[in-house]
Amino acid sequence: MNIVIMGCNEIAVNVSEKMANQENKISIIDMHEQNFLIIQETENIKTIIGDGTDSSDLELVNISQSDIFIALEPSDNRNILAAQKVKSLYRVPIILCLISDSKKDGIYRKLGLNVISSTSLISDIVLDSIK
């Protein structure tokens, strides 16, 4: 599978290192070169400096040939824009979108995005453990 990750953070590194192999090729796109310091490029993990909300940069990572798109940047809004653009223009089968504002995640679930809600996930763990 071809997997595109927008935003090079610890989650991106962890997911890439666990998934990358002969079958799964990972491309990570990030606007800031220094964010790539935490990852080692390999035969199966490529890093590309670019704006994942812009079509011409998305085409650099062959977005239309991709099976999975994961938006992991720190900005909810940029993740939402990129996820909706990739869904609407490139019809990538699986799209995941990180949203930290728990009030926003419901809105975008209703619109059909697969939302990863970091705040809800961690809050639930906290609430469960102090029950």
């Binding site: 909300t53 812009d54 079509s55 900005s75 909810d76 809004n77 940029r78 939402i80 824009l81 990129a82 909706q84 653009k85 609407s88 223009l89 504002d101 009030k103 926003k104 809105i107 209703k110 619109l111």
Partner: protein, 222 residues
């Protein structure tokens, strides 16, 4: 009207100023402290120093009774999300978004933004308006049929054109060329008679070939 404005750059600031002057209630949402102070110092307490794309912020700003949200930040993702949240979560009647990256315009429309303002288009339009007339697209042509050498073409008589005031009879029509139609500045058809005068803003529609187009266009837009 109660209007929420997201982002207070040059556009947001001037919008706020205009909307207040015409008697509207305005609230500007701007997270940046410097831009926030600019508005407050100029217009009093009509701003919140907060991120207007957040549902909680919008709720505090009274989005439920707002008539319109205008998102004019320099960041397309904020403009999109601000409008979507106001619309989907709070049913605001109307949203307007500035589009910084032209490729986003059609996406924004598809995603439910009521009105999009494409900044690039606006600037191009301004540029076009400021270019001398000869450079303007005052001229339009289309083939009569596919592969035909005969074409229909239209010339718009501009302000500085030196044909204004002359009579139709004085147009030196090249061979194989005819004047089909004339319209005045309001789009009304003008009778073509030998003594009909050509006025500013008229549109002349010809039938001709490649060569006659070139000759007539040079002459009419000089």
């Amino acid at each position: 009207m109660y209007v929420l404005i997201l982002g207070c750059g040059t556009i947001g600031y001037n919008l706020a100023s205009e909307l207040l002057a015409s008697g509207n209630e305005v609230l500007v949402l701007e997270p940046d402290p410097v831009r926030y102070s600019l508005v407050v110092n100029a217009f009093g307490s009509i701003a919140l120093q907060a991120d207007g794309t957040k549902p909680n912020t919008l709720e505090k700003a009274g989005v439920r009774r707002a008539d319109l949200l205008i998102a004019v930040t320099g960041d397309d993702s904020s403009n999109l999300v601000g409008c979507q949240v106001a619309k989907l979560s709070f049913n605001i009647p109307k949203t307007i978004a500035l589009v910084n990256n032209p490729e986003n315009e059609s996406l924004f429309k598809k995603l439910g933004i009521d009105v999009t303002i494409n900044q690039t288009d606006v600037i191009l339009q301004d540029l076009e308006d400021s270019i001398p007339n000869a450079e303007k697209p005052s001229f339009f042509e289309m083939p009569l049929s596919e592969n035909s050498r005969r074409k229909i073409f239209r010339v718009h008589v501009e302000l500085e054109s030196n044909v204004t005031g002359i009579k139709v009879n004085d147009i030196q029509l090249p061979d194989d060329t005819s004047l089909l139609m004339m319209m005045d500045i309001r789009g009304n058809t003008k009778e073509i008679e030998s003594n009909t005068t050509i006025d500013i803003g008229d549109e002349l529609v010809f039938l001709g070939n490649e060569d006659s187009i070139r000759v007539l266009n040079n002459w009419l837009t000089m």
